[in-house]
Amino acid sequence: MSGGGGSPGALAFERFRVGDREEWLMRIGRPHAPAILFVPPLFEEMNRTRALIVATMRRLARGGQCCWLLDLSGTGESERELADVAWGDWRHDVTAAAAYVAEKGKKPLVASLRSGALLDAGAVARGWWRFAPQDGAAVVRDMVRAGLAGVEWAGYAPADGLKAALEQATPAPVRTLRTLRLASDRAEADAKIEGPALWRRSEPGSSAELADALAADLQRWSRECVAF
């Protein structure tokens, strides 16, 4: 470990407070570098994009950014059960994580993947970046369809209230937003990149090319957001 918060590639876990509970953030990068807070997708896509997100974070940390990834309540290292989580809790998690990151170092750019974009609008941020965002109705449709061929909701059991709120959720308008999508996606975006929809795959592995492309795009956008 060198001084100034450790080597840029070092990984650390920190607890942040949300109301009367605590959740976890993973950090890669020096705390006082320009901050990027990653918001993962929900349910199975969270697992399937984890390696991609961490690979992207490592690249950005080498490029001088400080990257953070939160565990939403009821997922990852959280002590809560998914069944006890309300939709508002997840939005509060993101807002509280962004506040924690700002307090530890710098106001973050919020980088959301897929359904993470449904949770990111309440954060105090210097900008937003969304990769392949989708409506909550599309998430619900995928989970119902996953059940057509096997276990209902692919084995996830969120509360009915959370499902109902998710069905109505859309990515909220935010200032200073860049939206990126895969070239195979017909929806509108500021830019499109080639690459696989890893979140669809049962054994996603990670795509070095996709992580390279995401990190390069985020690095540029992070610099632009400093100027705003």
Partner: protein, 92 residues
């Protein structure tokens, strides 16, 4: 929205591309799929989340809508069955 694919070869090419993308299969391998090649239940990559992804990607790339009641194990059992389903939806 782009125009719906207007011939069955294009539907077949789209289906092969979606299978490769969603399941993470090598394109050369997918190119060898024949009508009788078994898919759902035979390929470990073809799990329940992959079913959701496959249907959604087919909808987006073919400009179609698939109802839940149209989905069952039979229509995904072989490459031929899935191709027949995609053609019926896209070319009518």
């Amino acid at each position: 929205m782009a125009a719906a694919p207007d011939d069955s070869l294009e539907v077949e090419a789209t289906l092969r591309a979606v299978l490769a993308d969603v399941l993470g299969l090598d394109r050369a391998r997918v190119a060898t799929f024949r009508e009788e090649t078994p898919l759902f239940g035979a390929l470990p990559e073809f799990d329940s989340m992959a079913v959701a992804g496959l249907l959604t990607e087919l909808e987006e790339r073919l400009g179609i809508l698939i109802e839940d009641h149209e989905v069952d194990a039979d229509m995904m059992e072989t490459f031929g069955a899935l191709l027949n389903f995609a053609r019926t939806k896209a070319l009518r």
